[in-house]
Amino acid sequence: MPSYEPWSAERTAQIIGEHQGLEGPLLPLLHALQETFGYIDQAAEPIIAEALNISRAEVHGVVTFYHDFRSAPAGRHVLKLCRAESCQAAGGDALVARAESRLGIPLGNTTADGRITVEPVYCLGLCSVSPSAMIDGKVVARLDAKKLDSLLAEVDR
């Protein structure tokens, strides 16, 4: 289970400083912020804009364009289920439905107790061993109902 620091302006400024020298620093910078805090706090956007000499709208535009960047912290665990064609061909849709009913939430949501976020992902590049998933950054292939249930049981503990 990943652990994150609480958001702080000082730490944000420090991370910006570490990346400012790169060519095209915004994406690496946003990745670093999310790795540190678990999400991109909206309060970080004006600080980034100021440092990179771009508008707040540009920063906000980038944060919201990319599926990876979160505007709020995810659940304690993140389960990504592949919804792309290869996994569909191997029975992935039924597994998505099973996860949704077990957790009582549709894909793209977090359980009310903040325990787990379940999201769609469009291809993990594990198409020859479909269906696949990723839980807290760990890849899982040849997913079936039994494997899925044990993944969900693990995060229950």
């Binding site: 540009e58 980038v62 599926h67 061909a89 191997a90 950054g137 899982v140 040849r142």
Partner: protein, 518 residues
């Protein structure tokens, strides 16, 4: 006694099948038995139904066992200690396996064989021979690549040599080499395998490209869904830099070339080259109108070579063995080999590199073994989410750019996803439109609006709302998207949609409803 040398793939597909746990268990068991063992995390051989596929070095070469589960670790280790002894999971000499024996591995020559983090291993397997030749005659590189007939392996199939020539001829104070490793197509994983299994070949290919066009800086833009590839690629770049084959004076020459890994952020459209460049610059991945071409005004407005991983990873062997050697493989205008990826509902999924010209049917039935569900194949999608669905009636189509175009399809990045007869093709057509709607960058109307209208129209058809009229609307919509979109996302979404309509018309008939008897 010398240490037992055991290979446990670190490739993400093997890891997803439990390779990390197996590697730990093997190490623990060997240490408990007080047997010196060296565990190498190699790439994958590409026989993914056998993953995790372990190998041991014996007096008769490497012997493989797979698929190994945790419960098999002790007995497999026994067999390994017995110089590659018998075991029910024994695969034997990997190269002798029919799946590998039938292949022609040029781009993937080293993948699964070498330790991806060992430069020494890379060099021992013909690595950096291409660069040596390139440095000896920098002026001849572009001619060699042009003569080889190499075309862009990302999907568009544009001649690589011509692209490089355009950048070489452009005058600028700075030029870039960008590697498109945003391999987002479902059914494709060849780029990932190269980066995880043989990263130095990509570094070498990009370096040669840099020398050819006069670029001193390169970026590898890898999608965030590939954390293993990001890790191996970054390590390999560090190793190359420390060894002096990246940096100010590469390999003792006066040539400068540096590389940096950049990670995407989950946007499919960033696989489109201009959108990728926007993303690298730190903006929303919005497609640019062409012209200007990236070759003239690319990254940060500078002339830029942007090529797929496989195109760049094929450059070293062309430089090493010569254009004529490479060109000798293939058919028509599709020269050389293509690393084809077999995926979906298939018994023997994996990577199959072969000269162009093999038929779709051979790939699906003879090599892939048909569906793992044991049911008949109904459709195969070739070339990712923007590729056409082919019925078995078209299985005689040879795998080459032009032959597929003639059948209203595309080979794209050469991923083949197989579906059995339970697939509902209207649902697949709807998904293609839905995916386009989710991933559209929003710049052009046909893609942004057309995809949403497409989802609605497919829904109307399957719900029996004026089906004939709505099928005509769908065809018209696809026509507008195909010819009116700025890039391949909107422009190619019609391929899966219209191929589903054309080849599987029965799936678009409204479901028979139960008569309301009351």
């Amino acid at each position: 006694m010398s240490a037992l040398r055991i290979y446990v793939p670190g490739d993400a597909a093997a890891v997803a099948c439990g390779a990390d746990e197996i590697a730990n268990a093997i190490a623990a068991s060997a240490s408990k038995r007080k047997i010196p063992a060296e565990i190498v995390r190699n790439g994958s051989r590409g026989m993914h139904w056998l993953e995790p596929l372990l190998e041991v070095v014996t007096s008769n070469g490497r012997i493989a066992y797979g698929p190994v589960e945790l419960k098999d670790v002790e007995s497999v280790l026994d067999a390994m200690i017995a110089d590659g002894g018998d075991h029910q999971l024994r695969v034997g000499v990997p190269e002798e396996h029919p799946f590998l024996k039938k292949q022609t591995r040029l781009t993937f020559a080293r993948c699964g064989i070498v330790d991806p983090r060992s430069l020494q291993d890379y060099k021992a397997h013909d690595g950096y021979k291409g660069l040596t030749k390139a440095l000896a005659n920098p002026g001849g590189i572009i001619e060699e690549i042009t003569q080889s007939g190499l075309r862009g392996r990302g999907g568009a199939g544009f001649p690589t040599g011509i692209k490089w020539k355009t950048v070489a001829d452009a005058k600028a104070d700075k030029k870039y080499i960008v590697c498109n490793a945003d391999e987002g197509d479902s059914g494709t994983f060849a780029d990932r395998m190269i980066m995880e299994g043989d990263p130095f070949v990509l570094i070498e290919g990009m370096t040669i490209a840099g020398i050819a066009v006069g670029a001193t800086k390169g970026f590898v833009y890898i999608r965030s869904e590939y954390p293993h590839a990001v890790a191996v690629m970054s390590d390999a770049i560090d190793i190359a830099r420390r060894a002096g084959i990246l940096g100010k004076k590469i390999a003792g020459s006066n040539v400068e070339f540096n590389l940096e890994v950049r990670v995407g952020a989950g946007a499919y459209v960033c696989g489109e080259e201009t959108s990728l460049l926007e993303s690298l610059e730190g903006r929303r991945g919005i497609v640019r109108a062409k012209p200007p071409l990236p070759a003239h005004k690319g990254l940060f407005g500078k002339p830029t070579v942007i090529n797929n991983v496989l195109s760049l990873a094929t450059v070293p062997i062309i430089m090493d063995k010569g254009a004529a050697f490479y060109k000798d493989f293939g058919v028509g205008r599709s020269r050389g080999t293509m690393p084809i990826q077999l995926a979906g509902n298939l018994k023997y999924g994996g990577l199959f590199e072969t000269p162009f010209g093999i038929t779709l049917g051979e790939l699906v039935n003879d090599i892939g073994g048909g569906c793992f569900t044991g049911r008949p194949v109904k459709a195969v999608q070739v070339g990712g989410p923007l590729g056409a669905y082919f019925p078995p009636a078209l299985f005689d189509t040879p795998f080459d750019y032009e032959a597929f175009a003639k059948k209203d399809g595309l080979i794209g990045h050469a991923g083949i996803v197989v579906f059995d007869d339970t697939v509902d093709m209207a649902k697949q057509a709807r998904f293609a439109m839905e995916f386009c709607a989710v991933e559209s960058c929003g710049k052009c109307t046909p893609c942004r609006i057309g995809s949403t209208r497409g989802v609605e129209t497919v829904d109307k058809i399957v719900n029996g709302i004026e089906p004939e009229k709505n099928l005509a609307v769908l065809a018209d919509l696809c026509h507008t998207m195909k010819f009116g979109s700025l890039c391949a996302l909107g422009g190619f979404t019609p391929y899966p949609v219209m191929s589903a309509v054309t080849h599987f018309p029965d799936d678009f008939k409204p479901a028979p409803r139960l008569q309301a008897a009351e």
